[in-house]
């Protein structure tokens, strides 16, 4: 029976080629646009560390002076050197890391290569275990290297490929601004997106090539890169003494009890600093987990959300358009349907027959939409945005596209098929 219906459907669709093409194109355009934007949105609002993100928290304190004070305004998103060090040494969380970004000049040993700049991360040791950073060779440094400002470095596999041709480079030296550091580890593939632990550099697609102890970066006077917010007479220069926030601090907490205790600790710490005269404002703290942090920092660009809404609106217009055309088409065939009814076809049979016809249109549109989405994503990848290279279709979005196509075709088919299957057999015969 289905084969027969399919035959009828193709025959009927073939009779109005232009119209069929219009309906298929409308659905394809709508689905293509929606899937492109939804995929970008999905990629950008993804979890950078699945499985670990719910245990990672970004503590916030308010160390600013009373200039511009407003009760309960958001505290800064970074910490000062002094507060960062105090919180780090308090060790109130399971793991904690204090870090900041930099950009370092690397002088390769091979004279064939020119010196070049590489993004760097200056951090304390827990960074690697807390963020589950995979290693290809060697391992991270430990607390003793942090304390000793050891001249050691961990490099990314990309930089390892560039400098050492991908070989195990442990024990080799890397020269930053002329200072030699001994390589103790090479990372595996690690590119969390968004760049959650420091959103001051760029939100997406930025990945450090060199990691070294924060204390070492201070000893070598390596310049800091990223935002610095200063108050009083701090002129945007990120030094330990300046009244500026310029470091990121992250903690790992495994239970709700620990989270509550850490919140308490932040308030107590602020009160203590206030009584010491360092803080002037009343305690104003936050403790957001990773996903809340991304949400608060609004990492997903507003334009991307706007484009998604626009594309969904467009899909709706395309669907309404197709439903209208399909309905008109089916009703135009009322006489033919009436004859079939009079010859004994049940309403249900007519409904199924028409649904097959609209389903064919929907599926063709869905397939076209999938192709258009691939084209759309290719166009997104050529855009001048930091997130552009990430725009790829993944399994989940492929499934969603398929569901959207089936859903759209059903939506576009059910109403017209139901309406047209209700023709009364007698009435249509009379005219003939």
């Amino acid at each position: 029976m289905f084969g027969y219906y399919l035959d009828l459907a193709l025959h009927s669709l073939g009779r109005n080629r232009a119209l069929t093409a219009l309906m298929v194109a409308a659905i394809a355009l709508g689905i293509g646009a929606s899937m492109t934007t939804l995929t970008v949105l999905h990629v950008l609002s993804g979890d950078p560390l699945p499985g670990a993100s719910s245990t990672l928290y970004a503590p916030q304190l308010d160390p600013r002076d009373m200039q511009g004070y407003q009760p309960q305004a958001e505290p800064p998103g970074q910490v000062t050197w002094i507060d960062g060090m105090n919180l780090l040494q308090a060790k109130r969380a399971d793991q904690q890391a204090l870090m900041t970004g930099g950009s370092v000049a690397i002088q390769p040993a091979q004279s064939a290569l020119h010196p070049f700049y590489e993004p760097a991360r200056y951090t304390t040791a827990d960074f690697f275990s807390m963020f589950r950073v995979p290693f290809r060779y060697g391992q991270a440094w430990g607390a003793s290297e942090d304390a000793a400002s050891a001249a050691v470095a961990v490099i990314s596999s990309r930089l390892n490929d560039r400098l050492f041709g991908g070989r195990d480079s442990r024990g080799r030296m890397i020269r930053l601004y002329g200072h030699p550091l001994r390589i103790i580890g090479v990372l595996g593939d690690w590119r969390p997106n968004p760049h959650f632990y420091d959103l001051n550099v760029t939100n997406y697609g930025s990945h450090e090539g060199v990691y070294l102890p924060l204390s070492t970066s201070q000893d070598l006077h390596l310049a800091h890169l990223g935002g610095a917010d200063c108050w009083g007479n701090g002129g945007a220069d990120a030094t330990p003494a300046a009244p500026c926030v310029w470091l990121q601090f992250w903690v790992q907490l495994h239970t709700q009890g620990q989270v509550a205790a850490y919140r308490q600790f932040l308030v107590h710490y602020s009160e203590e600093q206030r009584s010491l005269g360092r803080f002037q404002r009343p305690p104003n703290t936050r403790l957001r987990d990773l996903m809340q942090w991304l949400d608060y920092r609004q990492v997903v660009p507003g334009d991307v959300q706007l484009q998604t809404w626009l594309a969904l609106g467009f899909l709706l217009v395309c669907l309404v358009n197709t439903v209208g055309l399909m309905l008109a088409k089916f009703l135009r065939r009322a006489p033919e349907l009436g004859v079939r009814r009079a010859l004994g076809a049940s309403r249900q049979a007519l409904f199924v027959q028409l649904l097959v016809e609209s389903g064919v249109v929907g599926l063709a549109g869905g397939l076209g939409g999938l192709l258009l989405a691939c084209l759309g994503l290719w166009m997104v990848r050529r855009q001048p945005a930091d997130y552009a290279p990430l725009a790829h279709l993944d399994g989940a979005m492929l499934l969603l596209t398929f569901l959207l196509a089936v859903g759209a075709s059903l939506l576009a088919g059910v109403l017209p098929a139901w309406r047209a299957s209700r023709v009364s057999p007698g009435l249509q015969l009379k005219g003939h």
Binding site: L22, H114, G324, P384
Partner: protein, 410 residues
């Protein structure tokens, strides 16, 4: 034209007519808002930088290793650049208008101990800055060269709150002057920055856009009498005739690398490139919005034409009867045109309400202003026109139906 028969025919095709109305309403609402968004972007991309855009080059270096002699090096570099044929002026600047990279911002107060800043401005500094940028002074004077302080000595003085070694003069843009002292001359007025460091306004400059954060007032900027070097993040700016830019850029790079090969070029571009890349995303968004508008109008037009074709072929017999009873071709044509006009009008009326609703939602979530009511007639006229054009073909076919059809079977 009698409307009642049209209405009664439409009532027999309730669902189809309703779908068409919904489609027109949605299209109208989305098109109105999308056109408004495009207008917003175009306005943003139109912001004047205030500088001689087509005559400027930017070169930025990074250095390998420490540079104790950076200030001497900077003077040597600038002197060398001035020697190059075609170079009109050179400067070292901390940041550039509309470059997307804000190196320095300041909160301005009008009185010491003021609780909240009066204005948040972009702070420019560098040597020979305004002259090279081509920003004219509207009143007052530019800094004398002996007024300029070195950044490396200003920062320690700032931390030590040593007022004697800090700048005392400032130049503000006309937008800042008009905002802080409306109707008065800004010259001689005092502003306070940081921990109440007083600065006297000695000049008011023409427009000078900020590097970023345009939402804080695109033209709010001030200039400090401070000198910096390339090691402190400064860029070399070169002013030249626009036709000489390429040649001068090559000569300048060669000359600077000749002076010191041990530096890495971070930027070498014309200011036109700077501005171009700053607005790249807005341009992309504008293109996407325009594409969606075009696609949506096309789909709606084709939908209207398709539906009208159906209705025409379905009513061939009725049309024949009407023709036989004396209706002219014009009557039939006008019948279908009026029908479409009615549907479009209902759709547009609904669409306007919908457009306002969408705008309210957008305002809540994306810092957009209210949709000006002038956008609504634009959307309405567009849809009326498209509806009439789309229905014209089928309506002409309907008018061509001969009266004799009435006598034939079905």
């Amino acid at each position: 034209m009698e409307i009642r028969p049209i209405l009664s025919t439409l009532l027999r095709h309730k669902i189809t007519a309703l779908l068409l109305i919904v489609q027109i309403a949605l299209t109208c609402a989305i098109v109105c808002n999308a056109v408004f968004l495009i207008r917003q972007r175009l306005q943003r991309m139109d912001i004047p930088s205030g500088i001689a855009e087509h005559q400027l080059l930017q070169i930025q270096f990074a250095y390998v290793g420490d540079r104790p002699d950076a200030y001497a090096q900077a003077q040597a570099d600038l002197a060398t650049l001035r020697q190059i044929a075609g170079v009109q002026a050179v400067a070292l600047a901390n940041q550039l208008p509309l470059s997307g990279y804000a190196m320095s911002n300041s909160g301005i107060k009008l009185r010491p101990n003021q609780q909240h800043d009066s204005l948040e401005v972009a702070s420019y500094y560098g040597q020979n800055l305004l002259a090279t940028l081509g920003v004219r002074l509207q009143s007052g004077r530019d800094f004398r060269s002996d007024e300029l302080l070195d950044l490396k000595s200003v920062l320690p003085a700032l931390h030590a709150s040593d007022m004697t070694r800090l700048p005392h003069a400032v130049i503000v843009s006309q937008a800042v002057a008009a905002r802080l002292w409306p109707g008065q001359s800004a010259l001689g007025k005092t502003i306070y920055v940081g921990d109440d460091i007083p600065l006297q306004v000695i000049g008011v400059s023409g427009p000078l856009a900020r590097p970023d954060d345009l939402q804080n007032g695109p033209q709010y900027s001030i200039v400090y009498p401070i000198r910096l070097t390339a090691t402190e993040g400064g860029s070399y700016l070169i002013r030249t005739a626009s036709r000489d830019r390429e040649q001068v850029l090559i000569s300048a790079l060669t000359a600077l690398e000749g002076l010191d090969p041990n530096r890495i070029v971070l930027e070498k571009r014309t200011y036109d490139d700077v501005r171009q890349s700053f607005f790249e995303r807005d341009r992309a968004m504008t293109g996407m919005l325009a594409g969606v508008i075009a696609a949506m109008l096309a789909i709606t037009a084709l939908g209207i034409a398709g539906l009208a074709s159906f209705w025409v072929s379905q009513r061939r017999r009725t049309i024949g009867v009407r023709r036989a009873l004396g209706a002219t071709r014009g009557d039939i044509l006008r019948y279908f045109q009026t029908e479409n006009f009615l549907l479009a009008t209902i759709g547009i009326a609904l669409g306007m309400g919908l457009a306002y609703g969408m705008n309210l939602l957008l305002m809540q979530h994306y810092e957009l202003p209210r949709l000006p009511s002038t956008y609504l007639p634009v959307g309405a006229i567009a849809l009326w026109l498209i509806g009439q054009l789309a229905v014209l073909g089928p309506a002409l076919r309907a008018a061509a139906v001969p009266p004799v059809v009435a006598t034939r079977d079905g």
